[in-house]
Structure formats: structure tokens, C-alpha cells
């Protein structure tokens, strides 16, 4: 994937959206608001969340907020319930975060094209699609072709297994989809700035349509190994309304540097053109060379 191009597109989108700045909840309160919008519904009466959604923010760089950089818009902190918008790390954990930041280029699990985890996958600079039918809901992310099958709460969480994308169980509270996520392991980060969690992370996500093309996303993160108290983030998600919009395939290729790199299917280098005569000639030469040795 052409990261620079993506960044500039998303930065432009984020800049246009400065007017719709994310409202901050009253400090110290869990971010829950009464909602008056009446969403469309599936035949079973549940709100219809289907569609391609994207977070038009550059907070994926640092969810505690960051200043404007060359070609990248600034972002406010996504954290809504601490006084300073910072993550309430335990002292040792803050040192670990700072250490992560210092070596983020190589230490960020996403630099290996791993699946992003929760909640990071939600505010990546690539869209995701919610797939839904009565009794079924899945979230399909562009990034690393990750997906989550969101089973109802009646199915118990898996025990003793960690997953990159966690183990998700859901229920509806009014018009809000509430997803309880555990088993996230400790191999994912929260952003590109080294903000992280342990294998004890417990996330409760809340998805609420606040308009036909806008969805509020909230997540409460609890992890007593790393944070001094639970904390929450909030952002808005926007529907991709372009006709025929689709999630594109995101598969990484390993480069000569033995690191993995995103390669967009629209990049001319994505396609491998074959010249079988040349391949056979090379094979024959290879065989001859080996015979000589």
C-alpha cells in the first residue's frame, strides 16, 4: 500500500472534518450518551450497521494526540475520561511505552503486517466493513484482511487462547451494539507511538449510529497489569458513500530486507507477469551450475 498517498488522503479527510470535532465526555464519566437518532433496522429489529466505515482521523499515529507533521494533520487525544487526555499507565508501564516509542519503527507489531488487534483496527487509516444479517455479525478490516466474527453473548468466551483480534461477544443495549472482547494477547499495540496493553486487556466496545452515515465508537480498556484504572476512547466513524465502494485486499509481501510491506492490488507491482521460456532457461542454468559443483 502506498502509505504516503494514503496518509495524504486521510490527512485531507481529517482536515475537512475538523468542524465535526469529537465531543468530549464529562471528565471522569464513562463515555455514554443518550441518542435520539432512530436507525434503520434488519428484519429481526436490530439496528442495521451494515456498510463500509472509516475513522477520518490521524489518531492511529498516537491516540494521546499529536501535533501536525509534514503532510499529516494533527489529532486530538481519543482518550475522553482522564484529565489530561493521557493513558493512565502504571509507572513501569509508562517506561515501557516510552521504550516502545523509541524503537517503534521495528518494534511495532504492525510493521510485520500482523493483524492490528482491538481497538487499533477501528481507527487505522483504512476502512472496514460491517457484515450483518439476523443472528450474524462480522467486521471485516482492510488491514491484513483481518476479520472478527462477533458471536452473541450466549456463547461463552474461549478460555486460555489468545488471538490477535481477540474473542468477541456481543449484545444490544437499546440501539447500541456492545462487544465484549477478551483473549487479545500481548502482541498488539494501540497505535504507532508505542501505546500498548498486556494479555490482561479487556475491551468493551460500543457502536451507536448517530445519523444515517455516522457512527459513534467508544471503547473502555481495562488492564490492571498496565493501567492504573480503566479508561475510554471515543471517535466518530463515517460511512464510505461512494457508489460501488469495496474493501480491497491487503496482503503484504516480504521484501529483500526480510520485512513485510503492504502492496496495494492497484499497484502495478502487485501483478506477477510470467515469462515461462525465461523461467525454464533460468531453471536449466541453475541445474547445470549445481551439476558442476
Amino acid at each position: 500500500m502506498n502509505r504516503k498517498l494514503l496518509l495524504s488522503i486521510w490527512a485531507a479527510g481529517a482536515a475537512m472534518c475538523m468542524a465535526c470535532a469529537i465531543p468530549r465526555a464529562a471528565l471522569g464519566n464513562p463515555p455514554q450518551e443518550k441518542e435520539t437518532y432512530s436507525p434503520p433496522r434488519l428484519s429481526d429489529g436490530t439496528p442495521d450497521l451494515r456498510g463500509i466505515w472509516e475513522a477520518r482521523t490521524t489518531a492511529y499515529l498516537n491516540i494521546e494526540g499529536h501535533a501536525k507533521e509534514k503532510g499529516i494533520a494533527a489529532s486530538k487525544s481519543l482518550v475522553v475520561d482522564t484529565a489530561d487526555g493521557k493513558i493512565p499507565y502504571l509507572p513501569d508501564a509508562r517506561k515501557q511505552r516510552d521504550d516502545n516509542f523509541a524503537k517503534r519503527e521495528s518494534a511495532d507489531p504492525a510493521s510485520n503486517c500482523f493483524q492490528a488487534g482491538v481497538p487499533r483496527a477501528v481507527y487505522l487509516p483504512t476502512p472496514f466493513q460491517i457484515v450483518q444479517s439476523p443472528g450474524n455479525l462480522a467486521i471485516v478490516y482492510t488491514d491484513a484482511h483481518a476479520y472478527r466474527i462477533v458471536d452473541p453473548t450466549a456463547v461463552p468466551h474461549d478460555d486460555g487462547i489468545d488471538y490477535f483480534m481477540g474473542d468477541s461477544r456481543s449484545h444490544w443495549e437499546g440501539n447500541t451494539l456492545v462487544i465484549d472482547v477478551v483473549d487479545l494477547g500481548d502482541e498488539t499495540w494501540l497505535d504507532e507511538a508505542g501505546n500498548y496493553h498486556s494479555d490482561q486487556l479487556h475491551v468493551v466496545e460500543r457502536y451507536t449510529l448517530v445519523g444515517p452515515n455516522t457512527m459513534r465508537y467508544e471503547a473502555r480498556l481495562e488492564d490492571s497489569k498496565v493501567y492504573s484504572k480503566p479508561w475510554s476512547i471515543r471517535l466518530l466513524l463515517y460511512r464510505d458513500m461512494r457508489a460501488g465502494a469495496r474493501i480491497t485486499e491487503d496482503e503484504c509481501l516480504e521484501g529483500p530486507d526480510r520485512r513485510w510491506h503492504h502492496l496495494s492490488p492497484s499497484d502495478p507491482r502487485a501483478i506477477l507477469h510470467h515469462d515461462y521460456a525465461a523461467e525454464l532457461a533460468a531453471a536449466a542454468k541453475n541445474n547445470t551450475d549445481q551439476a558442476k559443483q
Binding site: 493483524q115 444479517s133 484482511h145 488471538y163 490477535f164 480491497t248 492490488p265 502487485a270 515461462y276 523461467e279
Partner: protein, 280 residues
Amino acid sequence: MIGGQRGFVRARNAIFAAGALIFIAIPPAGAQVAQQTTQTAADKPEQAAIPRLADGHPNLQGTWHNEVGAAALRKAGPFGDYHSPGVPLPYPYLPITQKIKDYRFAHDLYGDPEAHCHLPGVPREIEQPSGIFPFKIIQDEKYVVILFEYTHDVRIIPEDASPHPSHYAAWDGDSRGHWDGDTLVVDVANFNGRTWLDMDANFVDENEHVVERYTMTSPDSIALAATVEDATVFSRPWTMHLMLKRNPAKEHLVEYDCHEGERDVDHYLQSEGNPSGKHE
């Protein structure tokens, strides 16, 4: 390093066969093998028995697996040919691509993109060895979505017969579906020329074009016919016939991930008594 290469395949076959046997142990499957290969479009679906959505189309939702067949597994054993019945081997290569296939089989089995954790492509994702992993279908009036457990592969298939995009080349290609009566027909193009069809070096290239036909033949079975054409690889189109069987409702998919990349190969080699893990 031929020994190492064979060992690599053997290990994968053994792992795969062990998984397959668990599946076979659940539904007694022997009786279904014969009918699987003779499944044709002439076999009328049992109209009343098929679940349907409100839009009238067959409801393909649920968790499924490719019914490999007990006979195929007996024939295979842990180390042999693991293909489903209904896979028309050998494929009709052109003379030059036959040589390519033979060379890769003898010298470059590590070239298998699955050994590098890549997406399997179509129709491999449903056939072997990924086919032994279940997949879940979610369907509405606009999309049929297939969520594969194997390497968290996903296909979102619109049902509107929309055209393929230009300037797009992907491991799984681009899928566009439509309903032909009760059959979901999926046209798949825009492949990137990187996928193989199996771990025996059967392959396709960037000109691959697949037409899949999913026909529900009972509430718990879907006949899948996948016709593959690739004029730069094969002398004629060929069709793979698979039978998909429903998994018990309480089974859910778990996350399958594969992220060691090239280093997987080193580990396979180490397990074959080559401590350095180096390969040619």
C-alpha cells in the same frame, strides 16, 4: 535439499490428514463419496427442503467445510495424494507450463505461496489443504460473504453481477456474483499471478479466470463446481467438483494466523535434521 523438501510436504500432509480425520470422524462420510463425484447440474435440488432468505434466494449461511471424503483420505494416507474426489487431475497444461510445473515440483516446492503464509487464492481456499478448515457464510440481499478460518481469508461477493475493476490484481482476485435460479454464480478474475493450486506445484497465473457455481442440494450440503480457465497455462478449461457440508451449529471459527513468513521454511528444515535451517 530434496530430502528436506519432501519432508516439508510430508509434515504438512501429516498435519493436514490428522485434522481431516477428526472431521471425518464426526459425520460418517463414506457413503457420500460416490455421489459427490457424480453430482451434476441435472440433480434437482430438493426445493422445499432448502432454507431461503426473504428475497427468495437459497440461504447459504452457516459454517461449512469441504467434504474431502473418506475414500480420498484412505487413498492418501498421511503421505499421499490428498485431493478431494472431483478434482480433475492431472490438469491439462500446455507443453511449456507442464515443464514449469515439473521443475517446481522437483526443485521449488518452497515456492508454494502458502508456505510463505500467503492467501491461497481461488479455488484452492476451499480445496486442499485449506479446505479442511471450516468457513462461515453470512448472506444478505446484496452480499454473500465467505469468512475462511484458514489464514483469515475473506471474500465479500456482491450479488449484483457488477463488472470487475481495472488496475486491480489480488491473491483472491475480484469476485462478482449473481443468481442463476437457485445457483449462486461467482465470476472471479483480476488475479495477481502469484498463487498455486495445491502444494504439488500445480499453478495458475495472472490470466486465471474462475466461474464458481454454488448449488444447495440439501439443507446441509452445497455442490460447488469451479471452472478454471487460464489460456497461458492450460490447453482447455477444467472443472473441479466439490461437496460442501454443514458443520454443527455450535461450532464456531477460531482465528488462524500465520506470520513467520520465510522463517517457517527454516523451521521445517530444522525439523528434518538440518539444524542450520538453511536451504538452497
